[in-house]
């Protein structure tokens, strides 16, 4: 198996995996979507009763949205994750009570009128857990309204709830194999013009395949060609795989962790089969 990187940014990855098959790539896709862990806010405590400011003005601790909706919105905010320094709360030595090696605490204190943004979440402890995308509106507060919230983030997987889903928009498609019979081609250019992805181009009085990685196998070129010299087919052993992340983890971390989880799983399977043979 060979992996070529077409694009690798912190939030987006596009890879060409060759000498493989759809079953393997699908296993990888399912793993990075549902089994790669990340941090997300899981528990939100709302202060009840009046909130006083320094001047002695009393604010009501309510907002236009229900507390449940607010908690849900907070849970979907991507929280920076360091996979090496955190473990699942249920497997932590604190027995699920919450300690610095399994949870991150946030506080949010805002008085209306204003818009509460994700950037208003103040991490308690290290500044490195500050939410990177600080412009997500959480709620708008009217006059005399205020929020005082303590939220805890913990590790989880996409299998439990989508707030812990590390990768999004993960998908794969076959690499396009485009064959042109140059001896019969009349270079009418209709195929070049009809291709919605700019795969084909004219070079030295010949139609050439310039960007095969963009081909979506739509077959528009074969349909428009009068002479029938273009053949488009998918190659199941060469697959374009791509996914994005929400910014909690980088695309590279997600990919490496996903492959590691797959490896561990196959290793346990191998051990169990080995036991059967004895």
């Amino acid at each position: 198996m060979k992996i070529d990187i077409l694009e690798m940014t912190p939030t987006k990855a596009e890879l060409v995996i060759s000498d493989t098959n759809p079953m393997f790539v699908n296993a990888l896709r399912r793993t990075i979507v549902s089994d790669v862990p990340k941090m997300a806010i899981d528990n939100v405590e709302f202060h009840l009763g009046p909130i006083m400011d320094e001047g002695g003005t009393a604010y009501e601790s309510i907002s236009p949205l229900f507390d449940e909706i607010l908690a849900h919105r907070l849970s979907l905010v991507p929280v920076p994750t360091d996979l090496d320094s955190f473990i699942y709360r249920s497997k932590c030595s604190c027995n699920g009570e919450g300690c610095p090696s399994c949870t991150v605490m946030y506080s949010l204190n805002k008085k209306g009128p204003c818009t509460v943004y994700s950037g208003d979440l103040e991490p308690i402890g290290s500044e490195k857990f500050r939410v990177k995308d600080d412009l997500i509106p959480i709620v708008k507060l009217a006059d005399d309204q205020a929020l005082l919230i303590y939220a805890t983030a913990e590790l989880g997987t996409g299998r439990q709830h989508s707030r812990w889903q590390a990768a999004l928009g993960a998908g794969y498609r076959y690499y396009g194999k485009i064959e042109i019979d140059h001896s019969k081609c009349d270079v009418g250019l209709s195929c070049v013009n009809v291709c919605p992805r700019g795969v084909l181009a004219k070079e030295d009085k010949k139609i050439v395949v310039r960007h095969p990685e963009n081909c979506t196998l739509c077959n528009a070129c074969t349909e428009v060609c009068d002479t029938g010299v273009i053949k488009v087919s998918g190659d199941p052993s060469k697959i374009i795989f791509r996914f994005e992340t929400d910014g909690s983890l980088t695309a590279k971390e997600v990919l490496i962790k996903g492959l590691k989880i797959l490896e561990e799983r196959f290793e346990t399977l191998r051990e169990q089969i080995g036991k059967l043979e004895e």
């Binding site: 236009p64 949205l65 919105r73 979907l76 905010v77 991507p78 994700s118 995308d133 600080d134 412009l135 997500i136 509106p137 959480i138 709620v139 708008k140 009217a142 989508s162 889903q165 999004l168 928009g169 994005e244 929400d246 910014g247």
Partner: protein, 62 residues
Amino acid sequence: MIIPVRCFTCGKVIGSAYEEFVKRVDMGEPPKDVLDALHLDRYCCRRMILTHADLIDEVAPY
């Protein structure tokens, strides 16, 4: 009500793009160019922004 934090379909964070989108479209930029500039490539994320009715200011007094 208020712009959802994430796209309902794919889960991309779109909440942070909404205010910039509204500001730039009000200044006369074509919505298509703004959506492209905000890296909202899939049509599921684009419809979240395009079809959103921001009603929270009308609900807030109650």
